[in-house]
Symmetry: C2
Subunit: 351 residues, 2 copies
DNA sequence: CTGTTAGCGCTTTCAC
DNA sequence: GTGAAAGCGCTAACAG
């Protein structure tokens, strides 16, 4: 029927508005900027034309002209399936929107090659700045040279071999405090289910964990320590094997969200009696009928803070600031079986 | 020290590459497109220059020229704090990336005015298409006229008063099947904690719920029915009040994720014995020591499907297709107390 | 108060 | 094989 793409190309341009209003495109542009020098009647004419055509300024063209590629900030996360990152995105979004910037959200899924491509792509789109939670500690693709001065903020891990702002969680202290609580309760055989050593958070959290043992003068048994990818299924398997040892740990420390969930699953399936501690609070943690010590922090705030640092850099003389490093505090929360326990509806039937 | 903005403006253009390689910009462009007519040695020269300068093509300029504003698809969600939407975003992202598109993710936070602004903003940026989960059932701002033919896909609710593709969850069937299970167990006094009636999912899920009662010939007691915003705290309060009635329900149906969590919290705090059913599976649902019937579906798939429909429209003759409506199936899952129950580490101490 | 000219960085078209 | 000119839609800079 219709010639191909007909209605899609019907997007009116400033020239169409100008023609309809009987003025030049420059006048239209000025009216859109609410330039006080334009007469009231001209403004009215132009605005009528805008309304009639449903005109929407082409920001791509505008941004090209004013030298700002895309009014957007790029956000590269390493695992969108992890709720931590959606919280982060939420925080970044709030801060970005306040400056009329959108967020281009991309997911490296933990793959560095992918991350390299995604960053390059964002740079090609000329985003005003990039926030990255790097998949590995090889940050060479994020060097200032590669970025041509596009502002960069790292989240959850510090720059390595490059200069950049970053916003971190106090992983060390959080892990140490949580571990201390286990030790205070008399646990000496404590399992550790951690992240790969190439991940900074993995290293810090392990350091904090270990430091609590040193302070307490308790020997850390290496047989109970595991480093691996953060994946629920993998963690579950690892924890199951720990629980299956002939001399199993009496407590477990999980280095993050995914490991914690995996650990909970493994413990729940086994007949083991074991205390759990670890990073990342989660919804309903308090309602699991399980003794639990979690390290919590403000993930949304992390995103907000990252965006704030980035936007500071975007400012005219923002490049002159020294590298910033913001560390957000952690808190330790303890959960236990609900007071009084559950009142089960037997067999799911009415009471 | 440095003249303001110095290093930030140092982003090389195609002209810089051309000058360094001693060719015209046209030749550079052709090399970047791997045009077979260019001689091998010219290609080598140009590629060396590209590498030396770290040149990255300005996609903003490119897209302007080729008439595609931003190689991005806009995604407007109504509550990023709800894990359903991050799952959705994940699905959209996967499909988009396969076409070299990025996702511009924005959050209306359930506010329609905001949604209107966000959609307008995305249109100004000339995204290739928009995926929206509308905050309300007033879709007038999404009419073809307002979109100038930019492809649109609605998720989780059908178009109302406009034509658009949509991808839905079979809310009706899911709710009915879950309710049936409660009825089959002899519950007749069942509370309903639902969404506002202006939200389509709210209506459908209530219809499904009610239909199970009709089929079973059980009268639905309106005193137990609540419609409200989907917010954990609000739901908790509502459920608490239901539980506090002198003749309380023996079971509850929660219309979504947020209401379900709120209901669980309320039930756990009370001394009530009550069965729970409702929409949206969640991580660890199986480990809550609580009888639970949940309606589950593939949220990532929903996003993938939405992106697929959108990309079909973006194709040259995509506008000629009739409006599509995809309905994804639901499944009902039952959880109960873990077999054998938890083995508690008493007082969090070692065994 | 409003219009003209030029150009952001790239690509399409036509020329050699 | 390669280049020159023109223009995508917009706005800064200078007219008038």
């Amino acid at each position: 029927m219709s010639p191909e793409g007909e209605h899609r190309n019907a997007v009116p341009t400033m020239r169409d508005v100008a023609a309809l209003a009987g003025v030049s495109t420059m006048t239209v542009s000025r009216v859109l900027h609410d330039d006080p020098r334009i007469s009231a009647e001209t403004k009215a004419k132009v605005r009528d034309a805008v309304r009639e055509l449903g005109y929407l300024r082409n920001d791509t063209a505008r941004n090209l002209r004013i030298g700002r590629g895309a009014a957007a900030i790029g956000l590269v996360v390493s695992n969108l399936a992890n709720p931590f990152y959606s919280q982060l995105a939420l925080g970044v979004g709030v801060a970005a929107e306040a400056q009329n910037l959108t967020v281009m959200l991309v997911n490296s899924a933990g793959d560095r090659d992918r991350e390299v491509r995604l960053v390059r792509d964002l740079l090609s789109r000329r985003v005003v700045g990039i926030i990255v939670s790097p998949a590995t500690d090889d940050h060479s693709h994020l060097a200032a040279r590669a970025l041509h001065g596009t502002p960069l903020v790292l989240v959850a891990r510090p720059p390595k071999g490059i200069t950049a702002d970053c916003v971190l969680v106090d992983d060390f202290t959080g892990a140490r405090e949580a571990a201390k609580r286990l030790l205070a309760r008399g646990h000496t055989k404590v399992g550790f289910v951690g992240l790969p050593p190439t991940v900074w958070t993995g290293g810090e959290r392990f350091r904090g964990f270990r430091s609590a043992f040193e302070e307490a003068g308790v020997r850390l048994d290496r047989r109970y320590v595991r480093h691996q990818e953060s994946d629920v299924a993998a963690a579950e398997k690892t924890v199951s094997s720990l629980l299956g040892m002939r001399d199993p740990p009496t407590a477990l420390f999980a280095a993050n969200n995914r490991n914690m969930i995996g650990a909970i699953r493994a413990v729940s399936r086994s007949a083991s009696s074991i205390a759990l501690a670890g990073f990342d609070d989660f919804e309903l943690a308090d309602l699991l009928d399980l003794p639990l010590i979690v390290v919590t922090y403000d993930a949304v705030g992390l995103g907000r803070e990252a965006a704030r640092l980035l936007l500071e850099r975007v400012e005219p003389r923002g490049g002159d600031l020294p590298p910033q490093r913001v560390v957000l505090p952690t808190a330790v929360v303890e959960y236990g079986p609900p007071t009084g326990g559950w009142h089960l509806a037997a067999e799911l039937g009415p009471g």
